[in-house]
Subunit: 236 residues, 2 copies
Amino acid sequence: MRREFKKKSKVLLIDDNYEHLAGIRELLNLEGTFDVVGIATNVSVGLNLIKKYQPDVVLLDMNMPERDGLQGILEISKLDVDTKVLALSGYDDADLIFRAMKIGAKGYVLKTMASAQLIYAIEEVLNGKIYLPLALSSRFFEYFQQTFREETAAKETAEEEENLLNYLTQREEEVLELLTQGITYKGVANKLFISETTVKTHVNNIFQKLQVNDRTQAVLYAINNGFLTKKVKIAV
Amino acid sequence: MRREFKKKSKVLLIDDNYEHLAGIRELLNLEGTFDVVGIATNVSVGLNLIKKYQPDVVLLDMNMPERDGLQGILEISKLDVDTKVLALSGYDDADLIFRAMKIGAKGYVLKTMASAQLIYAIEEVLNGKIYLPLALSSRFFEYFQQTFREETAAKETAEEEENLLNYLTQREEEVLELLTQGITYKGVANKLFISETTVKTHVNNIFQKLQVNDRTQAVLYAINNGFLTKKVKIAV
DNA sequence: TCCTATATAGACCATATGGTTTATATCTTT
DNA sequence: AAAGATATAAACCATATGGTCTATATAGGA
């Protein structure tokens, strides 16, 4: 596909280093397929320019003081413009890459990269793709897997150790569920159409089975052991 | 680096399609730098072979009946061998790719890929890298970002609505934290070196501020509003 | 049919919890 | 210096909660 026949893509640059900013602008202008519609040395100004020019892509420096790059990505995505963010950074910090991608950056390039690579990255992003250099991609995945390894391990142990909730009868589960909503004995009795003393009996049995000795602990045990996966609501 | 001088890498294949299995074995044998130490048409057998031969890498088909590929990855990682898993699949299912990588696959290749690519993928994985073809990498990131977009959005709304926890004083927070561990007033008093009545005063103030009327509801409010991000432990 | 698990419910009692009010002592801020 | 927020603590009281024991009805399994 020959670029000459296409409308130039609008690019906006945000970087607190003016030298760098000017350098990239020069590079992109020379390339000829891009139209640098604006440059900014901080996120606030950048946001205004984005609103004004609605660029196709923003090259956003990650390592800026005050309102930093990550925050910038979030705020750009909050603007309802169809602008893609390509993160720029001096360092291949795995955590930073991970977080940037997590909140929606379409790519991440290092400032040390060759200009041709940068051009390529911008084009990929413009074409709706994600661009991560191989090296960064590796770091990303390492970090990604590490993050989830812990999670998986925790889940494993949780699943392996005996879940005392399994010993509860159906009725006891109903009672416990109401307890996890902060309802009083009298309230439970009303809801289940049984007497308060019956509720107490059930509750005592629950305590026995869960090996706890008050409702708070029972509720905590229930929550920690997947009794309710959905968010627990407080009954008012 | 010339491969001829290195020890051949041990490879193991698991795929329920025997034709395919044989094909890959042939390919790898021809290549000459790999030693296919075993093949299996199901995960159970594969696991035993892995224990026996401790291969450097396992090519694991994702689309198998019964014990499927994902489960296979998990079980291989549970064996404490230093075997890397390269996932094989007929489809570029974003969800499947995401999950496979999440639980520790070192790479993901499509069965339709050229043999040279497969060889390259195996070598990359053997060198401790992650290998994802560009196309799959894109799908992965799309899925990844989508997954977190929802999460971020949910967090945003949660943060925007007023969090009554912010009104608590430091001391009240300490007390509440102990309450969320199912500790009694007397216990809290002991831990904080204050009298039980003081604890009661704090607790009452907490109730006022959180607009609840008993400890269970206070604890539930705390948990639901990010008072403790880490897993809440029950003090026994 | 007998036994066991389950759901129901009462009595009795000790203690924990929650509501309210009042009172100091600090410390910070105006 | 005065005002406000915070941490401390006591007195008093009503009620909720938890512990233990006993008892009945019913359903399902051995």
